[in-house]
């Protein structure tokens, strides 16, 4: 066991981990931050996306020890201190960008990374950026719409409701 320390959603966090402990396991099992989900074992579904030092990563494909000393942010750190949804979260609710909610944390974290990099993405850019996030419920239509709305673009003209 080795102790790792990191800042998670602005708070210091530490714990003893094995070499094989994944960042996703550390977050879920040791810090009880169960909003980060694990939906596959081949690094494809993206339900586990968190930010490490400001960059989106798949926490199921990163060792906890590799995140030692890093700033980590997860879905639990996205809303305001009073619980108010941030712009992206609110857009997902407003545009029905989620159904079962399982892929949602990864989608929100990927969307945040995209908008940081590309504040006004086109529809094609949003779709391309979501290559590593699989949703089985929504058909992506309303996720794309929500992300574009969160970027401040007018989504009124996008197809149907």
């Amino acid at each position: 066991m080795t102790q790792v320390s990191m800042t998670v959603n602005g708070k210091a966090a530490s714990g003893d981990v094995e070499g094989r402990t994944l960042l996703s396991s550390f977050l879920r099992d040791q810090l009880h931050l169960t909003g980060t989900h694990v939906g596959c074992d081949t690094s494809q579904c993206g339900a586990c996306v968190v930010h490490v030092d400001g960059q989106a990563v798949k926490s199921c494909t990163m060792l906890a020890m590799e995140a030692d000393g890093s700033e980590v942010s997860t879905i639990e750190g996205q809303a305001g201190a009073d619980g108010s949804l941030n712009v992206i979260q609110q857009a997902f609710q407003d545009h029905h960008g989620l159904q079962c909610g399982f892929c949602t944390p990864g989608m929100v974290m990927s969307a945040a990374a995209l908008l940081k990099e590309n504040p006004k993405p086109s529809e094609a850019e949003v779709r391309a950026y979501l290559e590593g996030n699989i949703c089985r419920c929504t058909g992506y239509h309303n996720i794309v719409k929500a992300i574009m709305a969160a970027s401040g673009q007018d989504v009124g003209a996008m197809a149907a409701e």
Partner: protein, 786 residues
């Protein structure tokens, strides 16, 4: 103006807040103090005789609590099948035993042979590697037609052969149907495959079994669409635990799509092992494990023939289907290719004679059961493909041929035993034509050609049967359960209320839409209503969520219970207002006396029910809680018309969806935003089936598409924005809300549109291609063009 609440309002979903902030409560988020973890040692061989399983070394490994094999399950029941189909000779289907852990033989890759319970998952997995399994490999039965050849290796030695049943429907119509083909002016024939799929909800299955010696109570937390069904099947048939000692909880569930309906071995194992080990036992499926243990979907091979007269009227339809059951009968497997498929073969058309033959076959593959649409996508696909092929053969417009044969008068009794209560197929087709700018298609095709691409337009209709189902009817058809739904409405003293529904929500948004209905009925704010589901200790009974039945059946039960509440509340109000009960009206959350200005607020009535100082105690009991069970009198019949425009890259065979339009008739609609979202999701799964998804086995029964590296899930850049409309509404005539259900439509209606469009594109380039089997992956399309 859109409404801002109640029925018809696009109310934002209340469940979203917890999901968006990471505080949902999925089964894998549940940890019970002192829990151990189970790892299943699964067969990597498709078929073999299990000679021995030596667990001695494994049992001595660090952290191991106990290792289980089949011998530990002697006396435990078989995983039951919930539907018995009768074959065309009147004999019951062949029904093999389905043990919790492989007994005597292994019959598919992924079948659990042994289970290790240990302090940690990794320790359990380490120990599983130390189990010595001696298997003599047997030839794998994979191809369905070969499985039925005489002398074929048997999947189950104690059965006569690999034929589960040979079903004919309607047997009495067979001779007349054959005669109609003899007399036909034109016959169109098509052989096709409805590709095997894996449902792939993003949340893998999880089960946590818990047990208290102090109270002899079992609790199972599980990723289920229907916790009460699991309680019944597992409690009564497998483990022998009475309902009052077994609580099943399905908390937030991350998608189901059918594959979380069924009772699985892992649930029975965790429940059993928790008692045997006297501690909680948790299983979390990996995605790799899910591919070889979740029930698969579809997998039909069909020959369909359509007979037409000289005026292009459909005169008869005949089909022969082989339906894969896999190695064991999953919970509803036998019903899917029969009662959920054969009864839909009339589609939207007044074909007078129909005969459907289905042979269900055992193979050494993962069990196959319902997946979004379940039987209805298979029916729609073959019918809408053969109609399209007929139009091309006859040189007539595919839409005109469909319109010519539409059913136009309702109710309509089909020759396949169902009665459509209502519908307007011309209306949805009119709407679709308005949406797709058909007159602009030639210009779009020319533009595509300029870019070196082939453009095609495909159209189809669909009809589905939802709201399953009248219990007495399905009982006659072989269902071993009733298919009603229950709801309890508990009004609290201060006027807020809780609805306990058997309709589990795992993405459908019931917590929002169900509240809208009750809010509308009483005239109170939606936020005064809480929807509770997913826990057998809270909800009296439930048959669960599948077959687009929640609002039609569960919603109707809720309406009935709410009506009972209102009736009782009116009695209380009449007492408080000193008026005749007949004169009491409920509007906007207040009871008033007709024709007067006397009224009493909802909250005053509910308070009186619980503080009955001024109360008609001689006539009615205090309290305000009512339960209703609703058993539907018919199925509901959503329908619609879909269109797809594709571009095909002739150099690579790659198909891209350029436009997709869906015009649906769902009857009345509670929350248009949610309905639209359900259609989007269904479309994505249908397009996924048509273009991307392929669950494939090799000849040795090894699963070739066993992870997301090989099984192509639709991604954001595979799909377009969808154009969805549900303004055509012919309300259901037999349920109180006039609703039909919307969950499966997209998955049912979209595959034929895609394939029809690709065939159109290829034929536009002069290619002699009449059909390509799904998925229309680039290599298959390219090969079809050569």
């Amino acid at each position: 103006m859109p409404k801002d609440g109640g029925i018809g309002a696009s109310s934002k979903r209340r469940e979203d807040v917890r999901f968006l902030t990471g505080v949902g409560n999925y089964t894998d988020d549940i940890n019970v103090n002192g829990q151990a973890y189970v790892y299943f040692l699964r067969s990597d061989m498709a078929h073999g005789t299990l000679n021995s399983v030596d667990t001695s070394a494994a049992s001595a490994m660090p952290g191991v609590v106990r290792v289980f094999t089949a011998t530990d399950f002697e006396g435990v029941g078989s995983i039951p099948c919930g539907w018995q189909v009768t074959d065309k000779h009147g004999a019951p289907m062949q029904e093999p035993a389905h043990p919790v852990l492989a007994t005597g033989k292994v019959r598919h890759v992924g079948e659990p042979i042994a289970a290790v319970v240990a302090e940690t998952l990794e320790q359990a997995r380490d120990a599983a590697e130390a189990i010595v399994v001696d298997i003599t490999e047997l030839p794998a039965v994979v191809d369905m037609k070969a499985a039925l050849a005489s002398g074929a290796t048997k999947v189950h030695d104690d059965l006569e052969n690999n034929l589960c049943y040979d079903w004919g429907f309607v047997e009495e119509n067979k001779a007349a149907t054959d005669a109609a083909f003899e007399a036909a002016a034109h016959v169109t024939t098509l052989e096709l495959v409805n590709n095997r799929l894996v449902a792939n909800p993003m949340e893998p299955r999880v089960a946590v079994g818990d047990y208290s010696r102090g109270t002899d109570e079992h609790t199972l937390y599980t990723t289920s669409q229907n916790p009460h069904v699991i309680r019944l099947l597992m409690g009564a048939f497998v483990l022998g635990i009475p309902e009052h000692k077994l609580r099943v909880v399905a908390p937030d569930v991350g998608g189901g799509f059918g594959t979380k309906i069924f009772h699985y071995q892992e649930e029975a194992f965790c429940t059993f092992a928790a008692k045997a080990c006297n501690r909680a036992v948790k299983w979390t499926s990996s995605r790799t494990e899910a591919f070889i243990s979740d029930a698969h979907g579809r997998d039909h091979v069909t020959k369909i023939e359509l007979a037409l007269d000289a005026e292009n009227n459909f005169t008869a339809l005949r089909t022969e289907t082989h339906a894969n059951m896999g190695a064991y009968l999953s919970t509803f497997a036998p019903s899917v290719p029969t009662w959920l498929h054969g009864t839909l073969m009339a589609g939207n058309y007044k074909t007078p004679l129909i005969y459907v033959n289905v042979k269900a076959v055992f193979t050494n593959t993962v069990p196959v059961d319902a997946y979004r649409g379940a039987g209805r996508p298979e029916a729609t696909f073959q019918l809408e493909r053969v109609v399209d092929k007929a139009a091309r053969e006859l040189g007539v417009d595919p839409i005109a041929l469909r319109r010519q044969n539409f059913i136009t008068e309702f109710p309509y009794a089909t020759p396949v035993a169902v009665e459509y209560d209502t519908g307007d197929y011309h209306a949805t087709m009119d709407k679709l034509e308005e949406m797709i700018d058909r007159s602009g298609f030639d210009a779009r095709r020319a533009e595509s050609e300029k870019n070196g691409k082939l453009r095609g337009l495909g159209v189809n209709c669909y009809i589905e049967a939802c709201g399953i189902a009248p219990s007495n009817l399905v009982g006659q058809l072989g269902a071993r359960a009733g298919l009603y739904e229950s709801a309890t409405v508990r009004v609290n003293a201060t006027g807020g209320l809780v609805v306990m529904t058997g309709s589990h929500s795992h993405g459908q948004g019931h917590e929002t839409s169900f509240a809208q209905v009750v809010a509308e009925m009483i005239g109170i704010d939606e936020n005064m209503i809480e929807i509770v589901h997913g826990d057998t200790s809270k909800v009296p009974m439930g048959m669960g969520t599948y077959g687009s039945r929640s609002i039609a059946v569960g919603g109707s039960a809720m309406v009935r219970a709410t009506e009972k509440i209102i009736n009782k509340a009116k009695k209380i109000a009449s007492h408080l207002l000193e008026a005749s009960e007949a004169d009491i009206e409920l509007k906007d959350g207040a009871f008033s006396v007709a024709g007067t200005d006397k009224s009493v607020a909802w909250g005053d009535v509910t308070l009186a029910a619980y503080v009955p100082h001024n109360y008609p105690l001689e006539d009615i009991e205090p309290g305000l809680e009512e339960t209703a069970f609703y058993d539907p009198s018919n199925f509901t019949y959503p329908s619609g018309a879909y269109a797809c425009e594709v571009e095909v890259d002739p150099d690579t065979g790659k198909v891209s969806i350029e436009r997709f339009a869906a015009a649906d008739d769902f009857g009345n609609i509670i929350n248009p935003m949610i309905v639209t979202g359900q259609v989007h999701g269904g479309l994505a799964q249908g397009i996924g089936q048509a273009l991307l998804e392929n669950c494939a086995y090799d000849e040795n029964g090894q699963l070739l598409s066993a992870s997301y590296m090989e099984y192509a899930m639709p991604r954001a850049d595979d799909l377009p924005m969808f154009d969805v409309d549900h303004s055509c509404q012919t309300p259901c005539t037999h349920n109180p809300l006039g609703v039909k259900g919307c969950g499966e439509a997209g998955a049912i209606g979209s595959p034929p549109a895609v394939v029809n469009a690709v065939v159109d594109a290829l034929q536009s380039a002069g290619k002699d291609v009449t059909h390509v089997d799904m998925p229309l992956s680039p290599d298959r399309v390219w090969e079809a063009m050569q």
